[in-house]
Structures are given as structure tokens and as C-alpha cells.
């Protein structure tokens, strides 16, 4: 699996990605960003307060909409859960642990969806929400190379991670990928980052 897809799957699992510096281990995106910032490397230093507020807000939008939609499609859609998610999640384990852990994960995700009010949504409504989120990101990006014009920031990394995973992960149907591909500036944004920073990792399938 490519690095970004591994990162996505691990993000869902909750523990990886992590970095190891000396005898310190830092996991997940938020703490990693804070750690590198404390060490003096920050992508968002050049932003003023209003822009930093916007960046945090858009990061929450991505977490709120895209991540929740990905979880919903993986675990609350019965067909996808049976065909793809449960086999993939339980593959490292032997019987009966694979069944138990897979169902436990599914049950946990469904409880979360119930609590935040997504359990009443249909698949079409979830696709619609993803489309609205992508539209908001597309309007924010406009014709700029990155979200805050010249330099990439944490927001660019987060959006790239999610969009790349949506575009490259094989699901039962391609409707989600098609929705993302309909926003051409987001697609070219992903291509650009992939070619600039991940040259030797293979290509995204062209639309």
C-alpha cells in the first residue's frame, strides 16, 4: 500500500502515523505538528492570526466531514463493510480474533455515528456532504497552488492525505472518487503535491 494509504488506514486505527526521535515517540497528526513546531520547524509561521484561524477551521471541516464520511462508507454501509473493511481490518489476526475485532470495530464506529447524528443519513446524503465539503475546499483553493498561496501548510498536508486516499483506495463503487474528481482544481492540487514531494511513489489514476 502507498504511504498515504497506510497513513489513512492507521489514522482510522488510531495509533499510527508516528515518528520516533531519539527515545521519544509521537503519534498522530496533531501532536506531530506540535512537536515539529516546538523544534522550530513550522509551516504556518508566515500566517497572521486570521489566516491561522481559517486554517484551523478548514482542518476541522476536513476532519468533521471527510473523515466521518470515510468512516461511514467503510463501516456503516453493509456491502462495503462485508466485502472490504472487515476482511482488511481482520487480516493480521487469526480465527476467532479476526471476527471479534472486526465486529467490535464496526460496532464502535456505528455507535459514534449514532451519537453525532450520522446514523440516520443515507449513502446518497453522505456523498452529498462530501461533495459540499469538496466544493468548499475547491472554492477556498481557487486557482492558487496551495491553500495559503505560496507555501504549503498543515492544511495542504491534511487535504492531500484524505483526497489521495479517496482517489486511490479501491471501494465497491467509485462514486466517491468521481465526486472528488469533478473538482478539477483539487485533482490538479493532488497531482502537483504528489509529483513535487512523492516522485517515486507511483501515479494517481488519471480521470
Amino acid at each position: 500500500m502507498s504511504l498515504a494509504a497506510e497513513a489513512f488506514v492507521s489514522q482510522i486505527a488510531g495509533k499510527v502515523p508516528f515518528i520516533q526521535v531519539g527515545n521519544q515517540v509521537v503519534s498522530e497528526l496533531g501532536p506531530i505538528v506540535q512537536f515539529t513546531k516546538a523544534k522550530g520547524h513550522s509551516l504556518s509561521d508566515g500566517l497572521d492570526d486570521v489566516q491561522r484561524a481559517e486554517m484551523k477551521a478548514y482542518m476541522e471541516l476536513v476532519n468533521n466531514m471527510l473523515l466521518t464520511a470515510e468512516l461511514y462508507i467503510q463501516w456503516c454501509d453493509d456491502y462495503t463493510a462485508t466485502e472490504i473493511s472487515r476482511p482488511r481490518y481482520s487480516s493480521p489476526y487469526s480465527w476467532p480474533l479476526n471476527h471479534i475485532l472486526a465486529y467490535q470495530k464496526q460496532w464502535e464506529v456505528r455507535r459514534k455515528m449514532n451519537v453525532i447524528g450520522w446514523s440516520g443519513k443515507s449513502l446518497e446524503q453522505v456523498y452529498e456532504d462530501v461533495s459540499q465539503c469538496c466544493q468548499a475546499l475547491s472554492q477556498r483553493l481557487g486557482t492558487q497552488p496551495y491553500f495559503f498561496n505560496k507555501q504549503p501548510t498543515e492544511l495542504d498536508a491534511l487535504v492531500f492525505g484524505h483526497l489521495f486516499t479517496i482517489l486511490t483506495t479501491q471501494l465497491t463503487n467509485d462514486e466517491l472518487a468521481e465526486k472528488v474528481k469533478s473538482y478539477t482544481n483539487l485533482l490538479s492540487f493532488c497531482h502537483r503535491i504528489e509529483h513535487t514531494y512523492f516522485k517515486d511513489r507511483g501515479r494517481i489514476n488519471a480521470a
Binding site: R52, A57, V115, R140
Partner: protein, 441 residues
Amino acid sequence: MCPILCHKLLLYFRAVSALGGGGGSIKYVCEKIFRCNPHCNRKHFHNCNLTTHFFSIKSKVSVSCFHLCFLTNICWVQVLSWRTGMLLDSCVCVCVCVCVCVCVCVCVCVCVCVCVCVCVCVSMVHTNMAEPMELLCWGGDWDLPSVHTDSLIVLAYVKFSGAKLAVKSIDWTWRTITASVPQLHYEGSTVTEPTQILNFLRKQRFNADYELTAKQGADTMAYIALLEEKLRPALMHTFWVDAENYANLTRPWFTSHSPFPLNFFVPGRQASLALSRILLTKAESPLLNITEVEGKIYSEAKECLNLLSHRLGNFHFFFGDTPTSLDAFVFGHIAPLIKAPLPSGQLQKHLNQLDNLCQFCNTILKNYFTDAPAEKRMDCSPTATHDPVDANLQKLTQLVNKESNLIEKMDDNLRSSPQHRPHRHETKPSALASERISTPP
């Protein structure tokens, strides 16, 4: 009983029994009443028979139609009054009078047509008059129109967009446990959830976001997501999970605003929903309990409030001079936090230091919810003026708090780094040093 009334009743019930309705029992009861009346005698009874016979010769059908229309009108009017909640006794009288007049003329077709037309007109008039949009929400207190965040969001948006709707409080009704509030009723359909209700109102052409650009619309979505992810868990914790606040403020309020016996269940149910939502969304594994998550959610909430304050700046509203849906969402979240008399409110103290957010809340209350008295506007400014730190120092202190949170977590060595010390610590040693120099030994 008056003999004339007896006579009329007998006439009526005979007609009804002729139609097959009521049957023999009513006729039996009527005759019993008639016979018990000492003023009635055989002559009345005989006259009654003749009258009935006369009617039956003249037009038995018209009498039957009269009673049928009378009963139909009664039923229709009762259905309408149940649906519209209005007393329609005057309409009943009108219908009855029309029926009687027309039947006396003994014209069957006109009788039926007129009755039908009257029914249709009455129902149409009431359909046009009735059925405004109706919003169900929790009641108000502490100078707020509602104490519930989602209800406040919808109420604020309704005021901003100029929508006309009837607001009904669910306090002291069974809806406190059955309804998911806020709820909008319109023409038989029900909409819940603030986002859905706002979409619905926009489709009805009550749009407060009309003048926003596409980018501002995208920003609105982003900031609403920020509020939901960062601020709402801490708000729910402050009101429903924090033991002191829950026992002294939230539970008594909701208990006193729910009917018996629901007052035993409503607060507990809301509290357990809030706790499970916080744990499921913010706790990374099922093994964490609420105390470990508390620190994280409060620091995120404080950061969120700071970000909102930076975004608002010195403007009245988030996008120019007119309020939009984002203003409604922010108002709904921060107004209860500002106005509620919380016994233990670290988040409330933090929010009171952000003058522009307090001012924003009070501006909206003053301009759009005019039953809030104007004197209460002074609530936030005295607490701000009591704070002796000036604006620059306050901003620096907030930045320092953020940085020190990061540094404490990651690297102990950086805490003693000189560039992160606040300005006032540097003045203290020099003040002490100058004192030492000035006082002679």
C-alpha cells in the same frame, strides 16, 4: 324539560332512527323523557306525530338531508377546530342556520349544494389562515430567548432572516422527552437539526447568507465545523458533566421546566447523552475515562474561542455589517456560556476576557431580542475593565499560554527559554533590583 324541546328532540331522533342511525335505544330514551315530563300529555304527543307525518309527506328526504348535513357540518367543524386549535362555534351556528333556512324551503338539491359549499369555504378559509411555520424549542432564562444551544442558533437565524414563525416552548410538556429539539413544523412536515432547519428556511426564501461570496460560504462551513468539533464538547462538559454545574444549575433548571414525572428522567437522559458523545468522539480508546479527556477538550475550546476572537476582530459581525448563519451558530454556542450563572466555569472566565465576543453577543441580544433589558449589556464590560492587563499584554499572555502548552508536552528544556518569558516577569526583577539599590542598607 320544556315540552317544545321534547317535541324537537323526538323529531330529531325519529329522523335519525329513520336513517338507521342511533337505533331504537335513543328513541326509547327520548320517549321515556317525554313520558316523564308532567307537562306533556297525549295531545302533544299526537301533534308531534302529525308534525312528523307532515314532514315525512312533504319531504322526508329533505329532513334526512338536513340532519345529515347538520351532522356532517358538526364533524367537519370539529375536525377543523382540532387541526387549527381554534374555537369555531360561530361557524357551527352559521352552518346550522343556513341548513335550517334552506330545509324550510324544502329544496333538496340547493340544501345539499349549499351545505357542501359552506363546508368547502370554511375549510379553505381556515387552511389559508392557519398553518404558519411552527418552531419547538426549549424555553428561555438568564436574559436569553432559550437556554439550549441548538434552539438559540435557529432562533437567531430566524431573527436575522426575517422569517415569520410561531415559537412554541416545550417546557412543562411531554415533548421534553419525546421531541428532538429544535423542531420545525410546516404543512405536515417536520425538520430537525439546526443545519437542516436553516437549509429549509433558505429554500423558503428566508436567506441571511444571500450577500455572501462563494469563499465566504466556504469559510462559514469551515468555522461551523470548528465550533462543532472544538467548542461543543467543552460546552456539553461544562453544563452536563461537570458535577458542580450540573448539580447546582443545569439539573435544577431542567427539572423545574419538565412536567411530573418526566422531571426525574429528562436531565439524567441529557447528561448521559452528553457524556457518551464526549467519550465517543474525543476519547481515543474505550479505556480512557472522562478526567483524562477533560484537559484536552478544555484547551481545545479555549483555542477555538481565541481563534473566533481573532477572526471577529473589531467588526460587529463575522462578515461585514449584517449577521449571517455563522453569526447565528457562534451566538448559539457562546451566549449560554456568557449568561449562565455557572458555579464553576473556567471556560466562562476565559470567554469573559475576550471582549469582542462578549460585545458581539450583547449586540445581537440588544438588536434582535429586544426583550433583553439594555442594562444587562454592562455585564461583560465591567469584568473586562476589572482586568488590569492591557490589550497587548493580554494578547501576549494568550500566545504564551498556547506556546507553553505545546512546550510542556514536548520538551522540558524549552520551558526556561528566555524568549518565551512574558514581559511582566522581566520587569519584576528590575523593580526589585532598583528597590534594593534605592533602600540604603
